[in-house]
Amino acid sequence: MTAKIEVIPIETDVLIIGGGLAGCMAAIKAAEKDVSVTIAEKADTRASGCAGTGVDHIWAYIPPVHEKMGYTIEDIIESHTKGIANGFIDQELLHLIVRESYNRILDLENFGLNFRFEDSKAPGKFRVVTQFHSAPTTLNFDGRDLKVNLTREARKRGVRIINRVNMVELLTSLDGHILGALGVGTRDGKIYHFKTNAVVTSTGRVNRLSRSLTGVWGNTRVPINETGDGRAMAFRAGLPIINMEFLSNAMYSIGNFELNLGSPRNTVQPAAAVVDGKGDILVPRTQFYDWDNPGEKREVSAGHGERPDYFALQDQGKGPFYLDLTGGTEEEIGYIEWSIRNEGKGSYFLDYLKNQEHFDFRTDKLEWLPNSREMAGTASSGLVVDKDLETGIKGLFAAGDEVGGLPWVCAPGAVTTGWHAGEMAAKEAMNRKSFQDIENDKPDALVSLCEGMYHNEDGLHWREVEIAVQNIIDHYAGKVRAEEMLLRAIDRLSDIEKNVTFRAENPHELGRCLEVKSVIENAGMVLRASVERKESRKMPFGFYRADYPESNDKDFFVFLAQTLKEGRVEFNKIGIKKIDENNIGS
């Protein structure tokens, strides 16, 4: 590459950054209004994001089921707040999700996804299971083709989809309005300069902060190309980012193939147990799917059960452990296979398991092994937004996993926040008449950055930089953290940030380099937030400080927000509204 990189200007009323589940829903909703809508997607919307190759479950307050059982919307909010989030949640946003999730499910049904089953006796013929909450709120559905259908629906409404573009920079006016964004085409090598009046950022989670446990690069539960791009862009644009310290430690699941099949009691494994090599039961199998008989109303604060600390058991000489479905009936095994086929990488995994390993659920057991560390859903990191999902930059909205303070809202969070952010973004765009010209050096700076990578004989391959960053995170911000170690990590990361230059042979590699730059930005946020949280918070948060071993609700029952101001990072505490002062955070 010697020619100057071409810059493509694109005007669009609404820009959606990241075409996962939230981004596609945002685009579809925004396109209902008289505005032009564009999705900028780093992969291909038909297979991208956490729902890329399917989702088999989504939770909701389901009026036909829950009204009959006597549950209210507030019951589900309370159950999620206490049993799942341990109080660490923005309840105003949670209310939107609980309230609207069922409506979005009906939309998904209109988009051709099947939620109803002839063999179900539950109201609506839904398959309803108890998973996250004290109430049976999870619907299992045929969600394998979710992203294919959403892509089709978006296109049908005139949404322009630009695949293979990594978004790297937000463009704002001096008075704090969003004006556009910059991205790099990872196939064509061009720079995309979007001029817009409203943006929804929905780039998902941040992955690749820690080494994949099996040593296989792509083997992580969350898609490997989710590199926290939205958080990095928002941080550089001066927005506060919360909860970055909660990079969790490994948990046990199906090893070595990491996928979202979760623990027993999960939708895909309602009939599974965990046993040790002698056949002794560690986690008993629970009830099979209960959509025939949702039962009586339960105490809303009931959690979904403790999980054993397999690492502690292993330290005591216990193990190996196995996922055991051998007690399942034919009907149960059929159900579990259907569920796996619709969830995440499950469709391919099931094919591999049956046709390459010749695994038989009736007789064989799968070894239960640790998963890689990941940015926990337990205290979700991300951007700070108001009740309409708008950030501190006017016209910039966040959706899905980009939103901070909403633990374990997953698919229902994506569909509801995406939809609402899309609607608000369209309204904002309609209020603004024309596109403003941007007088700044960011487009030129991005051209220089990219050209510099192409001609950089002394630059490093993205993968060696990534490994170095992961080594820092895993060594200094591991299971137990302490101030001196974290400060050393910040220095070492800063050395990399200042001194390392990248080398890219082509646009594909350039895209990876930009991803690693985003990972570095996110790693810095993890380390700084870890210093700032001067307390420990036990599982499910799993945040341990050797120098502050006790939990300190008085000072730290808060979201820690970090903001870049004039080259320095400032922290402030955002109070968490509690619904019950006596029962949360104690």
């Binding site: 291909d44 038909r46 190759t53 040593g215 190309n225 193939f257 469709s347 591999y352 064989d364």
Partner: protein, 78 residues
């Protein structure tokens, strides 16, 4: 180098759907029309199976995704 995806060129019709949907963009179109794609970045495979899932000839064996040895599940046979 890993070899995560194996095409059967007798079955694959070179439609390039896998090239289009792969989230990690590990394939490249074969310059020869009708031939299976080229696996350009095999060690960037995420084993999500999108290529296999969206292959219209997968039931006929056009494409096979094989996890590398460290990713193979550990099974206690009954």
């Amino acid at each position: 180098m890993f070899r995560p995806v194996i095409f059967d060129e007798k079955v694959c019709d070179g439609c390039n759907m896998c090239v289009e949907v792969c989230p990690l963009d590990i394939f490249e179109r074969n310059p020869e029309k009708g031939k299976p794609p080229i696996l350009k970045y095999p060690d960037e495979c995420a084993y999500d199976g999108a290529c296999w899932l969206r292959c219209h000839l997968r039931d006929k064996g056009a494409i096979k995704v094989v996890p590398p040895l460290p990713m193979k599940v550990s099974i206690l046979r009954g």
